[in-house]
Amino acid sequence: MMSHSVAGALLYVRLATIRGWFASRLRRLKQPKYAIGAVIGVVYIYSFFIRNFVQDRGQRPWTPPPAEAMAFAPDIAAAALLVVIALNWILPRSRAGLTFSEAEISFLFPAPIKRSTLIHYRLLSTLLTLVLTALFMTLVSGGWAVSGASAWLRAAGWWVVLGTISLHFTATSFVVTRLLDRGVTSLARGAAGLAVLAVAIGVPLVWTLIALPAPTQQDLAGLPNVARYFETALNSGPLPWLLAIPKLLIAPMFAADARAFVLALGPALLVLAAHYAWVLFSAVSFEEASIARAEKRATKLAAFRAGNLRATALKKLRDPFKLRDTGRPELAFLWKNLVAMGRLFTPRSALIAAGIIVAACTWLAIADLRGGKAFVAVAATVSLPILLFFGPMFARQDLRSDLKNADILKTYPLDGATIVFGEMLAPIAVLSVMTWLALLAVALTGATTPTQLPVLVKVLGPLAIAVAVPFLCALQLVIHNGIALVFPAWVASVSNHGEHGLDVLGQRLLFFAGQIVLLALGLLPAALGAAITFFVVNSLAGPIAAAPLAWLVVLSVLGVEVWGGVRFLGERFARFDLSSELRP
């Protein structure tokens, strides 16, 4: 075991880190953006999780779920655990590496500390961190709790399960490292793992299936009967033996009361302790892999903080189109951002996708496969609003991802509006093309489906929407980029994928709500203008003239809004200084 001084130092590091983490979180609440975010985050968590939980406990007496479900749930959970463990053995895994931070590696690896002490430190740190995960899992699973035990006992049950899984994964990586050191490749290990599993699980499973009578109609009538049959299946043949240890492990989580919990906890802790010992006594070299892992993690974190989600997987990408030396500078930004988006987003790919859609829809129509046609129509129709209204949130290859390069962008001989519009072009193009492809599928499946709508409407409807798509995308991107430019400090913390906490959760919710409100305000003038135009022209010249005119009004209003938005953002960008904006 570790000496007292070393243990004290390591404990100090761990506790000081946790204390520092909480202190920094509390300190930053002095900033309004975090304070407001924290309030919203707390309200959200309380409303959606804690209130129901408290009310369930305080007002409504706990009613146990049906006995079938109580018997059924632990068996399912144990079977799921077994599958997770089995997959862990089969899937490729790199060399053993315990997760240390770069600072821990710098200070602890060269320090006069035994390897076993380092392992103790890492494992205990992980088990400590899992307390928070267990509490979180208890909170979010409160609604479907199947036991009457208190939340704290269930959290303890979660902790035992999560801790053992974590230790099992570490032990697996140690075993893999031993095998790799003996020249066994990942492929060979996977094959061997499959073979072992085929024997260890497959054979008993087949045995069980042979031993178990096929389900009758009565077995499948209603959940209780299905549950009863499933329970019989899991208790037939050798399956109970295979599930014995997983069942021991999950038993505290499903304990009906405190007494049952205490009785179940002992065996579960023994399984956990056995795993701990397994890791501790698997003496393999983990240092190199730990260093590599820490470096990878640090690079990823730095990339996330810089707003670049792809930093760990950068590949050389082909030019989406030939960029000539002269011409509109906005196209240079479109070209640059399409390069960043990857190989899929080229004009050639769009043409290929369109060709596939046309061929598939034609084939479905010729073969008269109504089910297939309906499926394509529904899938394409559902994807339309998703692409239009959620696409701009995720297609961020614009100013949002380039704000970190604002200094260099501002030295270019371009006015702010040109830069802002150029930056927005790639997401506008990509989202428009994707929406057009979905519209193409809707139009092709709709055109060959007999409905009450005249063919003219079936063709002109999607065409009219297709014309409006770039305007709608542009309007939303003006909003998203506008928020990034007007509130860069907020966006920096919200977009940082390494950031967690109630305050950041609240900020994200607030941003989402703000975007929806701004979009609604942006669409309102277009909708009002179109409605008034349609009403007036319809009464004078009929709907044939009113509809296209109303549509033109929509496009004009959206166009003016986008133009005005880009000019405003251009002005803002010209005055923008990221370093002073982010100054606390």
């Binding site: 670049n308 950068l314 030396d325 501002k410 030295t411 006015d415 200084d577």
Partner: protein, 242 residues
């Protein structure tokens, strides 16, 4: 070529640069020196149009930065201490992108000798992540020089370069100055300034303490020693402390 008049930059209650005026003529290399926090980088960023000045005027190649920012920036190349590159563009793609922004016709013919001079001609298809820090710096320089700027500004240009790279960088700066460019060079490496600069401007707490030719500055702060090195001069001029 570079004219700065009454330039001030205030962040909230903090004045980073106060009433700064100077000029750099074609062929001159001005060394901007000062202790940490003196306002050197803020001055350069303001002159480059990255941040707007609170008061004052900047003119680059005869174009007022406020009235005609794009014309002024077309004549400018600004090299930051940390090379800012696009993670997902290769060396070739960076040059292609910049060429389009500055409308440089037949950019490949111009880029080839530049890349050879900077010794990165064989890394055309490399991403920034595959380049060493020095090579990234060289790529940033190649991008900046592609449009043959008449105004050049360097913020700590030697950071990350190897000895040969440093030698070449000094030669390159002098070559551009001889070709008629107006250059501002900010660095803590006083021996670099001594070798390269024709003029020196000393800043402290955002204010100009002194400016003039290297000989004039030496005469003023050299305590009568005509051969006093710039380090001694700098320490005396800035009061020996930050």
């Amino acid at each position: 070529m570079i004219e700065v008049t009454g330039l001030s930059k205030v962040f909230g209650t903090f004045t980073a640069v106060r009433e700064l005026s100077f000029a750099v003529k074609p062929g001159e290399v001005l060394g901007l020196v000062g202790p940490n926090g003196a306002g050197k980088t803020t001055t350069l960023r303001t002159i480059a149009g990255i941040i707007p000045p609170t008061t004052g005027h900047v003119s680059l190649a005869g174009h007022d930065l406020r009235a005609a920012p794009t014309d002024a920036k077309r004549a400018l190349a600004f090299f930051t201490d940390e090379p800012r590159l696009f993670d997902y563009l290769t060396v070739r793609q960076h040059l292609n992108f910049v060429a389009r922004l500055y409308a440089v016709p037949d950019h490949e013919a111009i880029a080839r000798p530049l890349l050879e001079e900077l010794e990165i001609a064989d890394r055309l298809d490399s991403l920034p992540a595959e380049l060493s820090r020095g090579m990234k710096q060289k790529l940033a320089i190649a991008c900046g020089l592609l449009h043959s700027p008449r105004v050049l500004m360097f913020d700590e240009p030697l950071t990350g370069l190897d000895p040969l790279g440093i030698r070449r960088m000094k030669d390159s700066i002098l070559k551009r100055a001889r070709a008629g460019a107006a250059i501002i060079l900010s660095s803590h490496l006083l021996h670099l300034l001594e070798e390269v600069c024709s003029h020196v401007l000393i800043l402290k707490r955002g204010e100009k303490i002194a400016d003039g030719t290297v000989a004039e500055i030496r005469a003023r702060f050299g305590n009568g020693d005509a051969n006093a090195n710039l380090e001694d001069v700098f320490i005396r001029a800035t009061g020996g402390s930050e």
